[in-house]
Symmetry: C2
Subunit: 247 residues, 2 copies
DNA sequence: CGTATTGTTGAGCGTAGTCAAAGTTAGTGG
DNA sequence: CCACTAACTTTGACTACGCTCAACAATACG
């Protein structure tokens, strides 16, 4: 069931190691984690709200989003995850998953037994620190999203999310051009920013008209990076990542 | 500097033990954590954005809030913390604090060296699990706030926050009447819900007029608990706590 | 090539924001 | 203990950002 597929977890290890100091022993131990590989289609659930599970999931390729739905049917996307991201560290620590995670594109993922994660964290304090750091950064991103939705206007929200995705994709080693993968529909962009799809459309058009970006179906092209950052009130400190290289 | 003040950390231990299974050894070890006690006045900073610290803070009494400020001056309160809550587990795991934490009332707190927390978590896996669980619940609450601000209208947001504070105060063993401490001004309530103080005021008045609550300067009285829950679209599952007793 | 999904446009509306001032409560110092 | 001041709450009039509804165009996909 769970095998130790050498190299499969590389995207996760790369991410952890890029943010925390890990020695050869730790990296090797992470590589030996038992895991079960799987793929998912667009829209498929990695975790369903209410689920009880004893594994956690690592996204190996593609994009996914976390969401929760209000009692009146409004869906809020609370985070976007990309290659290397750890998802559902909750495992059996919580009674039930409090939100869903769904694939935004076709994805590859790995399931790792929760107990193995806890064990490896106990055995290697450096790994425990890396996992803690990872979760703390997720919390910081979550707070920034709340700041955006609570305090910024439509234009800033959209531009800010564009900036975040660009910086995170670069950090994850996905694309580096002015052109980036863009996995979300305008409807989903609205669910992430607390806006309707119609208003998202008008806002994106305004950013295009101002020469900041260009969009095609599944891609986002950055035309004026400083301008986009300014339009989105974007300061990348909250991502706790090294600065984006190209101007 | 750091002493092991027996019993001082009781509110934190109580909270951890109420959510996770901890044995006598773990509870004793938590009680032996070195800590430095301090008090703070309303408005004082427990953590300031940009700070670098090697301690984490435990709130022993009173209320505090986390906030981050946009480049245009908008302040978003991202969480409210009460007695027993762990604050700033980040310590030296992150380069710098990405948000501030300020006292909402006069508070008592304890500073614990970050390294002591990591050590005790390494030594006692059950404590590691309890701390993980604590952080995961914080994440769930954060997502719910994002859902509120992104998808719910003014009335729902305010009512929802009232409900959350009531349930959490009960869980923390603070008050149990229909009357609860209410530490926030309407201005702050607006900063928490992404609304202006003026609109908060009108919304609170509407909840009062509908016979759901009553408010006085520093207290909130629940008149119609089921009605308030309905008005706030409140389901407490996201708090991952036992159900509130009284109807 | 046909159909479903996604993106775009327009008109009208409503929730929440803005600005400004008055009323009320709490806190402070004489 | 009272007077004064600062902080907080309340009210009113007006504005505007973003929503709703509805239709149509373009694109992806089977």
């Amino acid at each position: 069931m769970f095998t130790s597929d050498t190299g499969a977890l590389a995207p996760m290890i790369r991410k952890l190691a890029s943010r925390s100091a890990l020695g050869a022993a730790e990296i090797e131990a992470l590589g030996r984690l038992p895991c079960r590989l799987a793929t998912g289609n667009r829209g498929s659930y990695l975790i369903r709200e209410g689920d009880r599970t004893d594994t956690c999931v690592v996204l190996l390729s593609g994009f996914a989003y976390r969401s929760r739905i209000s009692g009146y049917g409004g869906r809020q996307i609370t985070a976007v995850q990309l290659r290397g991201d750890l998802i559902g560290l909750h495992g059996d620590l919580l009674d039930a998953a409090d939100h869903s995670v769904q694939a935004l594109t076709r994805i590859d993922m790995a399931h790792i037994p929760q107990q193995s994660m806890l064990d490896i964290a106990t055995q290697y304090p450096a790994i425990a620190r890396a996992l803690w750091r990872d979760v703390l950064v997720d919390g910081s991103v979550s707070r920034e999203w709340l700041l955006s939705v609570g305090q910024r206007d439509a234009r800033q929200r959209i531009a800010h999310l564009f900036c975040e995705m660009v910086v995170r994709q670069e950090a994850a080693g996905i694309g580096a051009g002015p052109r980036y993968d863009w996995p979300m529909t305008q409807e989903q962009l609205g669910e992430a920013t607390g806006m309707t799809a119609v208003h998202v459309n008008r806002t994106v058009q305004s950013l295009r008209a101002d020469g900041l970006i260009d969009t095609a179906r599944h891609s986002l092209t950055i035309i004026d990076w400083p301008g986009l950052q300014a339009a989105g009130d974007f300061k990348q400190a909250y991502l706790h990542q090294p600065a984006r290289q190209h101007a």
